[in-house]
């Protein structure tokens, strides 16, 4: 059965800190790994990663995939209170369109 595991489950940091969130997966036919940010409602798309070792960056957020280690990290530098959210990792398969989600990491940034 496909599995996506995120760590840590929750994290409290102070504004300005840098955080690293982890996602590991066991999927039969891996195609892509996606990161989403979930505040009150919709998961909002952040990154989609398909190739190992290529960093994707958007402002203070960056992510990289390691297909050998079957994992990905999401980095947030100079955190702000607005970064407080649940960060979801999801994996897509080669054959099919469904996403398999991890349980998420709850990030709280204190001012």
């Amino acid at each position: 059965e496909d599995k996506v595991v995120q760590s840590p489950l929750s994290l409290v940091v102070h504004e300005g800190d840098t955080v690293t969130l982890n996602c590991s997966y066991e999927v039969t036919n891996f195609r892509s790994l996606l990161w989403y940010k979930q505040e009150k409602k919709a998961p909002t798309f952040l990154f989609m990663l398909t190739s190992s070792g290529i960093e994707k960056k958007s402002g203070r957020l960056s992510s990289i995939l390691d297909k050998k280690e079957l994992s990905s990290i999401l980095n947030i530098t100079a955190t702000q209170t607005g970064d407080s959210a649940i960060y979801l990792c999801a994996v897509g398969e080669e054959y099919g369109n469904k996403l398999v989600f991890g349980a998420g990491t709850i990030l709280r940034v204190k001012s």
Partner: protein
């Protein structure tokens, strides 16, 4: 920026009743999805829909569930005879193409079964 819209935001229904959850996917997207998230649990895939037919469904998507694209813009999820365990947040998502494009999610419908 175009977004997926869902209605209603909250639906309260008696057990055994039928509910229809509505979604308007992003206009140039061709693939549509339903996911659900039971309180405190992971987001779970229910069904994907392409070219007016179901392309994939999970074990959760049994005979009490159905999906439809009744016109050019709406995408609906019907639950025929609701059970208490159907209480969850239901998310609609869409993507421009299949698994090589990200899925974009709506704000969800919170379904409460009494």
């Amino acid at each position: 920026e175009p977004e997926v819209t869902q209605t209603p935001s909250h639906q309260v229904t008696q057990m055994g009743q039928e509910v229809i959850l509505r979604c308007v996917p992003i206009s140039n997207h061709l693939y549509f999805y339903w996911y659900r998230q039971i309180l405190g649990q992971k987001v779970e895939f229910l069904v994907s829909f392409y070219n007016n037919e179901i392309s994939e469904k999970s074990e959760i998507f049994d005979d009490q569930f159905s999906v439809e694209r009744p016109d050019g813009s709406n995408f609906t999820l019907k639950i025929r005879s609701t059970k208490l365990e159907d209480s969850a947040m239901y998310f609609c998502a869409s993507s421009r193409t299949g698994n090589n494009q990200p899925q974009h999610f709506g704000d969800g419908t919170r379904l409460s079964i009494l």
